[in-house]
């Protein structure tokens, strides 16, 4: 019989809740990205991509900026979760792993914020 307390046995093993949350958000964002990305690429396919006036008008027109912002957010979130798992799987040094996970999170938040802000700008103001 072990004299260790139940608490002592599980300390340092990590919580049982985060993994499920990670798993769920990964699926929820995937389900969101599938139709949004098909809509995005399908729309691009019918547009004159090199024409700035038409492209910036399209980005800011009607419901498009809402869908584009949601696509950027969902894609960045899904991407952050995915790269996180890759880092956790393949980077074994404790410090390197922590540093890379931090960089991963910050980089994705930066990309998401940048994309959303650009879309918002085109939604409220048309560039010259």
């Amino acid at each position: 019989m072990s004299l260790r307390t139940p608490l002592g046995r599980v300390l340092g093993s990590g919580s049982a809740h985060d993994g499920v949350h990670h798993w769920t958000v990964q699926r929820v964002t995937a389900i969101a990205i599938a139709p949004l990305s098909i809509w995005f690429l399908g729309s691009l396919a019918g547009l004159p991509l090199a024409d700035h006036a038409i492209m910036s008008a399209w980005i800011g027109h009607g419901f498009n900026p809402v869908l584009l912002a949601l696509l950027a957010l969902a894609a960045a979130w899904h991407s952050q979760l995915g790269v996180q798992v890759v880092i956790e799987d393949y980077v074994h040094g404790q410090h390197a792993k922590a540093a890379l996970l931090l960089v991963n999170t910050f980089a994705h938040v930066l990309v998401a914020a940048t994309a959303v802000l650009a879309v918002l700008r085109l939604a409220v103001w048309s560039p010259a």
Partner: protein, 134 residues
């Protein structure tokens, strides 16, 4: 902390086709993570104005970037259909060996078809290529 079991021991297993499917899913995903930066830059260029957008368009129609865009498109098509496989597995279906093998083939075929269609529409027809001149 006590050393705990680590998940991927890719090198200790006999080779199976499922490894390619799994690894390609990760690889395509990570590739698109980098592609997100380009998407954000493209949106910023559009928001900044005609001059910035023309510069971005010219950059994106260069041979190297165009090849990368095509690879990202291919990665998207594969990740999309293989992702659907994952979602179906999550619902508890398709685990039989024969089913998994067939869904792998279907995903590859669907990805290639979607890739050809989108590549034609995006590059050959309306495309990044024509009207690049600022």
């Amino acid at each position: 902390m006590r050393s705990r079991p680590l998940s991927p021991h890719a090198t200790v297993y006999r080779f199976q086709y499922t490894m390619i499917g799994s690894f390609a899913h990760r690889l395509s995903g990570v590739a698109m993570s980098v592609g997100l930066i380009v998407l954000a830059c493209w949106l910023v260029a559009a928001a900044r104005g005609a001059k910035a957008y023309a510069a971005a368009s010219a950059l994106l129609s260069g041979a190297l970037l165009k090849a990368l865009l095509a690879l990202w498109l291919l990665a998207f098509c594969y990740h999309l259909f293989n992702g659907v496989r994952h979602l179906v597995w999550d619902l508890g279906y398709g685990f039989e060996k024969s089913e998994a093998r067939r869904s792998f083939r279907v995903a590859i075929a669907a990805a290639l078809i979607l890739f050809v269609v989108l590549a034609w529409l995006l590059f050959a027809r309306a495309g990044v290529a024509p009207g690049v001149a600022p």
